[in-house]
């Protein structure tokens, strides 16, 4: 019971202190619009809104979660308030789950903002909403835990941003959103399949347009595997680097 209270308190504090701050709410709206505009700009003919939706949703989640988590945790480490959490009588895994839940929720909300815009413009019937929800959740979880992995690997806030881009930009171009994986040079294709976003984006393509290339069940299991791996390696790194 006391662990549940601690979890809930940390989550609510983070929501109030970071995720529900006006700049972040506006980021959540502006960012998906920017991605949509980018797809408009690169398109030669009329834009297939439904076709670009998996991409806009995936990138909104990826950028929203990794940025927020990497920065907030690094910031709390610098101001030493994170130490207070490490000194509390709650397990490290529960603490990190509490710290990451806010970013996961932020990512999920970010993903559905482009859906709301799309609803006003195009017909979204025939979409497998269950698979959309599962895919968005898993993209948010893996991206957040990637943000956690980044936060644990750096000391400064600016390093968190730089290091995030080291992962995000290759993922963006290799996950099949801009260039279909089958059109990538042969030597780059293996890299696509070691990136979690590839599986999340493909699963969303299946759910929205029915044109993914990987069995969605396989994608779900692989994303779960990435989530567990990133979370465990991050908590292990915290124990090694921060409880020194």
């Amino acid at each position: 019971m006391s662990s549940a209270l601690a979890y809930w308190t940390i989550l609510m504090k983070d929501m109030k202190n970071y995720y529900l701050k006006p700049p972040n709410i506006s980021w959540g709206i502006i960012f998906p619009i920017s991605w949509t505009l980018m797809f408009f700009v690169r398109s030669e003919g009329p834009v297939d809104i439904r076709g670009i939706l998996p991409g806009v949703m995936s990138l909104s989640v990826l950028f929203g979660t990794t940025s927020m988590l990497a920065v907030t945790i690094t910031f709390e480490r610098k101001s030493r308030s994170f130490e207070r959490l490490l000194l509390a009588p709650i397990s490290l895994k529960l603490l990190m789950l509490a710290k990451t839940t806010g970013a996961i929720l932020f990512g999920i909300i970010n993903a559905f903002i482009p859906v709301l815009f799309a609803l006003l413009i195009v017909d979204l019937s025939g979409i497998n909403w269950f698979l959309v929800s599962v895919s968005v959740l898993l993209i948010a979880v893996t991206s957040t835990f990637l943000g956690l992995f980044i936060a644990v690997s750096v000391n400064e806030v600016f390093e968190a941003q730089t290091f995030s881009n080291f992962f995000r930009f290759p993922m963006m171009f290799l996950c099949g959103l801009f260039i279909p994986i089958e059109n990538l040079p042969v030597f780059l294709r293996p890299f696509s399949f070691i990136l979690p976003l590839t599986y999340g984006a493909d699963s969303l393509k299946h759910a929205i347009n029915g044109n993914g290339i990987i069995n969605p069940l396989v994608s779900v299991f692989i994303l779960l595997g990435f989530a567990v791996f990133l979370f465990l390696i991050s908590t292990r790194n915290i124990e090694r680097r921060w409880i020194y």
Partner: protein
Amino acid sequence: MNIIEVSGLSKDYDGFKAVNGIDFSVLKGEVFGFLGPNGAGKTTTINMLTGLARPTSGSISIAGEDGIREIKRVQRIIGIVPDESNLYDDLSGYENLVFCSALYGVRKAAREGRARELLELFGLADTGKKPFKAFSKGMKRKLTIAAGIIHDPEILFLDEPTTGIDVESARQIRRLVRELNDRGTTIFLTTHYIEEAERLCDRIGFIVGGKVVKIGTVSELMKDAQKESIVELTLEKDPSEFKTEVSEEFSDVSISMRSDNTIRIASREPIKLMPFMSFFSSRGIDVYEAKIIQPSLEEVFVEVTGIEVDRMKKEKEGKKR
């Protein structure tokens, strides 16, 4: 009864021994002070006792629990006030206290009541919605201490509680520490202020270069350092005209005459005062006062550690700024 027992505790950082095989115990209900210069190992020791650092070797027992393996159980009964305030800048004093309390599983009504009570006790009740970042250094320190005791811990670890704050706030904090201890909280305190340690602590350990070099009550430490008895006599007038005579009369003791109508008598044996009284009164000089001179804790510290206290203070204050 010992509430903390530390045995052979060491911490290495890349081959550097920050703490080197220390042994000590803290009695339930006492104020125990760790006194030492920068880099002596005080904060590293606190970090190991509270779970922020893993010992390289040795054992820790806190309230009968294994302080290394069962640290999460131990953290329920300890409060920690680090050397620098670590509360949330954007939260108010009240919000910070309620948040910290919830981390220990304290129910809503109880944590809100306790937060108000502590804000009152620490003189911060009128801070309202003011965020922590807008507090003065002294207020920040007081709120950090309040956060450390929000869950009513059995043991409170205070790392340099008064460094870098104004005199009045420091005095209030010392009073609060005393009050907490009077209510039964065991206090483990690190400081580099000798007078603070002397005033607050029941027992003191000197730590230098990662080693505990001496532990005892203030009077024990002073007694150990006192190699001879010293008595100072205050006389009616300057006794220097009898200098040779008095030295010859009392050749078994060492006598030094001072410019303020006093003489100091030092001996490895107990000093008999009556012969001195008779000597001076027979020469028409009244003896006004006889005072036993003990070494100060500062002198004891310098003798035991070989470290100049002023240098230690300057280093610490410089680091804080």
